[in-house]
Symmetry: C2
Subunit: 105 residues, 2 copies
Amino acid sequence: MIIEIAILSVKAGEGPAFERDFTEASRYISQSEGYVSHQLQRCLETKNRYILLVNWSSVEAHMVVFRNSKVFLEWKRLLHHYYDQPAIVEHYSKVYEGTGDRSNQ
Amino acid sequence: MIIEIAILSVKAGEGPAFERDFTEASRYISQSEGYVSHQLQRCLETKNRYILLVNWSSVEAHMVVFRNSKVFLEWKRLLHHYYDQPAIVEHYSKVYEGTGDRSNQ
């Protein structure tokens, strides 16, 4: 599994509408083969900045399967007009995960 | 709960040592009051880039409690010398989370 991390810049004043349409768009991305889960996070320090985190089975599931799918057209139609600059998209693989289990301390 | 997202740039060639020491440093951050969980992710496209994701009970748990704690001194001692530029740190609050449950489709 890999994670897509996309930094999104939304046009001033359009945050609430973007968030509303994101909920609808989520129905589409979650239908894509290889999709695992996703989150949308709103930045507390930088107005209109969001981060999208998507877990995919592989980079190809995102870049090939999803990007060439019919559901991606719906995703784009609903969301891309909110961005005032292209999303910065990268993929990451997990090195470490800790859950704060203190049972051994 | 909020999430800290930090973009880290590690000196060329020091990734494996950084990852090893990150495991040790994780013992310290997880002891801090208000810590919930964390992940380290390695970028697939940009060499030596990592993203640290930390769930905290609040921004204060990170910026006040952790940053002024003894365990932060250990965290810094183990990790900060690996960075070739200051970490870019921001906090986010969750807008949406989807897990791909298709039971309604």
